[in-house]
């Protein structure tokens, strides 16, 4: 399978709509821990992505939300905090952490498998799985804070086991490791737990998926501030 075919297959797998519940845990090297229970509404097509992250727990953050959109390679979003005006996420803020985690807004919404420049640059075994290394680079039609993304793909299950994102100077900015692969209700493998190492070095973020309902019918209003606050 060529790089383009592999990327295309991964792009297809990521399309569709789903309602996800996950635990987000940010741990600092000093031992502090912050836990959020999140609900994620997700709707992806070949060219667009809509995401709404809502905090369910704990109470002091309940109702906080982040809405992200990406269309034709350009991402935008807004932050919702109850009783406060909705704040737009500027392009320069896309590198900031989602709920102050190590995963950025850009990471959450960006679909680098849809980029046109894809190449296979090797293979490596990750957690006992022989993976192909796919290198994706943004072209002129995609706006990204990264110069290249390398993903270690399990070619049997079409699941990325590791993702590394690099800056234009070649520095590794983020690494995402898939620590658990589960099967969804259609028996398709999906990444269920992730560990994210970001640029701030003094913390690590874990996403631990608890539930996924697929083919959920969302309306455009579900991805607006009014819809989230409803």
């Amino acid at each position: 399978m060529s790089a383009a075919e592999l990327a295309d297959q991964l792009d297809v797998v990521s399309q569709g709509s789903a309602l996800i519940r996950t635990k987000l845990e940010v741990r600092s090297l000093a031992g502090a821990k912050r836990v959020l229970q999140l609900q994620i509404k997700q709707r992806r097509t070949k060219t667009t992505s809509d995401l709404a992250y809502q905090v369910l727990w704990p109470d002091e953050h309940k109702g906080e939300a982040v809405i992200l959109h990406q269309a034709h390679g350009v991402a935008k979003g807004s932050i919702i905090v109850p009783q406060q005006p909705v704040r737009a996420i500027k392009a320069s803020q896309m590198n900031e952490g989602l709920f102050d985690s190590d995963l950025s807004y850009q990471d959450a919404v960006e679909n680098f498998f849809a980029w046109k420049k894809q190449a296979l640059v090797g293979s490596e075994t990750i957690n006992g799985v022989n993976c192909q290394i796919l290198e994706s680079k943004p072209d002129s039609s995609s706006v990204s804070i990264y110069a290249k993304v390398r993903s270690w793909i399990d070619p049997q299950r079409f699941v990325p086991m590791r993702i590394e994102k690099y800056s234009s100077s070649g520095e590794l900015v983020r690494r995402i490791d898939v620590t658990r692969v589960a099967r969804d209700e259609k028996h398709h493998p999906i990444p269920a737990s992730l560990t994210v190492h970001g640029p701030r070095k003094n913390s690590v973020t874990e996403f631990n998926g608890a539930r996924i309902d697929q083919d959920v019918q969302f309306t455009d209003a579900d991805f607006t501030a009014a819809g989230v606050l409803k």
Partner: protein
């Protein structure tokens, strides 16, 4: 000097090497005890939990992961009239993340069903009705979630109130968040969906009749599987995978132990060529030489096994007290498992010693003169 003194002296000749070999076997055996003990504890915990609820047969969907796939609650109406069935109770069981806990059992039970009967209130009260936004927690679940009566508990998108702490008579029950079936169905948006039916049979029903009943249920509703409590987990793909992984990992650890002992015994034979040849020259038979080497390797296995069992038993207790596991499973460290582990260790020792023993028996007494 007796035969056994020679064997023991052989082991003490290189105490550091013997110690390191013992460590290798011990780690392998500790892995057997810990992993198999955990998987057996998990199996036993569920069985005790089901029996504590008064369940004789569990009806669930075929295959599935740790929790079976949901199916329509109307299945119960199709089977409730079969002979020997005394009571049925619809259930929806989920293993999911609740608040700070990664894994928590959500056990939603049909309101008024017999699965509520075994719950003994420790404090607080039971929910008033099926629609009250309330849950009761098993004692361990309350401890893990740090909850007391009146505290809120976030289940998926819904905030419920903890109204009672209960004792369920089994680890699984004690580690669960228990709520009414319609409540959980509403929370996860799965009205009329269940993933298990607990069946209690009439008191006079024989084992044979229970088996026949499971067959009748499967005939009547082909999309489900009906199994007795003891068979329940052996039909679960997730559990079978856990069991296979625990034995697979253990066997790998044992293989490392075999190689370690074999290496040690081969080194012993090479180093003691002179001594073995002298023993042959003074009249020891080749069979006795082989027995000496095999006894040494079997003793290594025995000591490694005993130490490994101790390390495994302590390790598994420590593991089961960690926040990630506490309340979900209690290891089953039966005498049979501990005994089997020691027998495996001795077998490892003997198997590892076979080749070195054969090599030693092929030595020629004249080599003693050449060796000096």
């Amino acid at each position: 000097m007796t035969f056994f003194t020679v064997v023991i002296r052989g082991l003490w000749r290189r105490p550091l090497r013997t110690g390191l070999t013992l460590a290798g076997i011990s780690i392998g055996i500790a892995a057997v005890v810990a992993l198999v003990g955990m998987s057996r504890g998990f199996e036993k915990g569920w069985q005790v939990g089901l029996k504590a609820r008064g369940t004789d047969i569990v009806v669930s969907n075929r295959g599935g992961s740790l929790t079976p796939k949901p199916f329509d609650a109307s299945v119960r109406d199709r089977i409730a009239g079969l002979p020997h069935i005394a009571a049925t109770c619809n259930l929806l069981v989920e293993v999911t993340s609740v608040e700070e806990s990664d894994l928590m059992i959500l056990s939603a039970r049909e309101w008024g069903g017999f699965a509520w009967n075994n719950l003994e209130l420790v404090s607080g009260r039971m929910p008033r009705d099926a629609t009250e936004e309330a849950a009761v927690l098993g004692q361990t679940a309350a401890e893990v979630l740090k909850k007391k009566i009146g505290d809120p508990i976030q289940i998926e998108t819904k905030k419920l109130t903890v109204v009672g702490i209960v004792k369920g008579g089994a680890l699984v029950e004690d580690g669960s968040v228990i709520l009414s079936l319609p409540l959980l169905q509403g929370i996860i948006g799965a009205p009329n969906q269940i993933n298990a039916i607990d069946i209690g049979v009439t008191p006079s029903t024989t084992e044979q009749q229970i088996k026949e009943l499971t067959r009748q249920i499967e005939q009547l509703v082909p999309e489900v599987r009906a199994v007795t409590v003891s068979e329940h987990l052996s039909h679960n793909e997730g559990f079978r995978l856990v069991k296979a992984m625990s034995w697979g990992t253990s066997l790998l650890a044992i293989l490392v132990g075999v190689l370690g002992v074999m290496n040690t015994m081969l080194m012993t034979v090479f180093e003691r060529t002179h001594e073995i040849c002298v023993l042959l020259a003074v009249g020891w038979t080749r069979g006795r030489i082989m027995r000496m080497i095999l006894y040494e390797s079997a003793l290594l296995g025995l000591f490694g096994g005993v130490i490994g069992v101790a390390i495994g038993a302590i390790g598994v207790q420590v593991l089961s007290a960690t926040p990630a596991i506490k309340g979900l499973l209690q290891p089953d460290l039966s005498i049979a498992l501990l005994g089997l582990s020691v027998v495996i260790a001795i077998a490892v020792g003997i198997i590892s010693g076979l080749y070195p023993a054969w090599r030693s028996s092929r030595l020629n007494p004249s080599q003693a003169l050449q060796a000096g």
